[in-house]
Point group: C2
Chain length 315, copies 2
């Protein structure tokens, strides 16, 4: 049996796949060469999480990889109808990003509660201006997204005595269904978007939903930019329907320099880095190698994405 071909859609830094030596032939692709190389590959590792090249290059029929692994939690950047309909297995990087994203959300929430951006501004002006800040304990969070990331966020907030409610597509123990979303959003101090991007979630945070939030409440997005109708958020902030927001993800990334979002009052902009801690590339590479070993041995893969829903189900 020939050595399987692992095609890597590259990003900087390259994955360290030395442990595959002799057990796979690793071939590197970029956006330009991907389409030509895909039919001969057994496995595709989508290391680049910013590229949509897989969606465009995926072969409609004929030969194609039997397994696609994404070095990310979301798979919206690679799932096309042809891939979804095929028997190719898609896996994701569940387990690597949950904790860092949860820490990042707590960092944002606490920075807002303790008025840190203003403190940094006053420091630049050498101005001593005492203010009263908010107590985090006892506030209410509505976490939208019941996957591992959303649940990790809820756990970390709860550890600091925030009262979290998690909303998912399907209600189950400890998880509210979509019918509860409006009610939970309307009484939350923090609304935190951590849902996968699917046809159901696209644009779910719109003018109507921002309009039902409390004027003292904050909106945070660490999921995908397209969950949010950005113009509606801009209006909600400008008109003070809500107290503020923090976005780590945007419909267009990198956020263009002329985007009005950079300077909206009360909006904190960060460059899609919530989950990106030092050392994660090594973790992601090691995770792929582990999955490869299972795949090569004919064992069941882990982190298998439900291609209709766009995430790993049932957890």
């Amino acid at each position: 049996m020939p050595v399987p071909i692992v095609l890597v859609l590259d990003a900087d830094p390259l994955p360290r796949l030395g442990r595959l030596t002799g057990r796979a032939r690793v071939v590197h692709a970029d956006e330009g060469t991907l389409a030509g190389l895909l039919p001969s590959a057994d496995v595709l590792l989508v290391w680049d999480r910013a590229s949509h090249a897989v969606r465009e290059a995926w072969p409609g029929d004929g030969s194609r990889p039997r397994w696609v692994h994404a070095a990310s939690v979301g798979v919206d950047h690679l799932l096309c109808p042809e891939l979804a309909a095929s028997d190719t297995v898609v896996t994701n990087a569940r387990g690597v990003f949950e904790r860092p994203v949860a820490e990042y959300v707590v960092a944002l929430v606490l920075a807002i509660a303790k008025d840190l951006p203003r403190t940094l501004g006053l420091q630049r002006e050498r101005t001593w201006q005492h203010r009263e800040t908010r107590r985090l304990a006892g506030t209410r969070a509505c976490v939208v997204g019941s996957g591992p990331v959303g649940r990790a966020i809820a756990r970390s907030l709860k550890a600091l005595d925030v009262i979290p409610a998690v909303v998912g597509r399907v209600p189950r123990t400890g998880i509210h269904g979509p019918d509860d979303l409006d009610r939970l959003m309307s009484r939350a101090d923090w609304v935190i978007a951590a849902a996968p991007l699917t046809s159901r979630t696209h644009g779910m945070f719109d003018a109507r939903r921002f309009g039902m939030m409390q004027p003292s409440a904050y909106f945070l997005n660490v999921g995908r930019g397209e969950l949010v109708v950005e113009d509606a958020l801009a209006e909600a902030l400008s008109r003070r329907w809500i107290a503020g927001a923090a976005l780590d993800v945007f419909a267009a990334e990198p956020l263009p320099a002329d985007s009005p979002l950079w300077r909206l009052p009360g909006l904190l902009v960060s460059p899609h880095m919530a989950g990106d801690t030092v050392g994660r590339w090594d973790e992601l590479g090691a995770q792929f190698v582990e999955l490869y070993e299972r795949w090569a041995a004919g064992r069941t893969l882990l982190n298998v994405v439900d291609k209709q829903h766009g995430y790993v189900p049932g957890h």
Copy 2:
């Protein structure tokens, strides 16, 4: 029996003591009138936490309040040798500030770990610059100060899976003694000062101690400014002995506009606000009224400060 006189060293906003009506005569003092009014007072409420007027005005002998309550955790601003030697009971505001200060410390630690100050700076420049940040879980904190504030800080950090070690004056279960301080500081990622200001703790964070910290470590002070030799901290930051620091308290407050501390590389300055959440004035007023009711009924007071050590012992 005459109605007791409660003298209040005022600060803005005034305490709400309406519940004392008919049970006490509330007399208001400022720094100028305090000395003249002290001998006739039964109780002194030190509402102003920034003033040192009590230390200067305390009567050496003769008539004086039998009970002094500080609307703060630290009592260094009012304890003078004469008061310490007298039979006047001193109580503090234990119970009000612990949680807010702990939240504030976690806010600072997470803001540093997630590089938030830089993110805010890049946003002002409309610059999308992705960076990798630090994972908080698994890092080590050395909390110096084993009172309710220090222990609350350790609890909150532990809730986010930081590994805390608490150092106090007297070793006991779960608390390290002073002999362990150097060793714990030298391996900590976060050194957090939350000790009371006493003759033992004055200047304890000096060049020698900053020199033994890891170059990747951060120093935070939410105790009292005088715990730190500020020049030594400035040198440690300038020479990159440590990675950064955050100070909420200073030897001179407000920090003068010409202080070099405002602009030290890697130093975050905040204006002594760690514990000051919305609603605390009402909590502090209610706490004093509760203690007054115990005192007036001849019951044992709570939150009694050990005047030799400057804090409430044994907890």
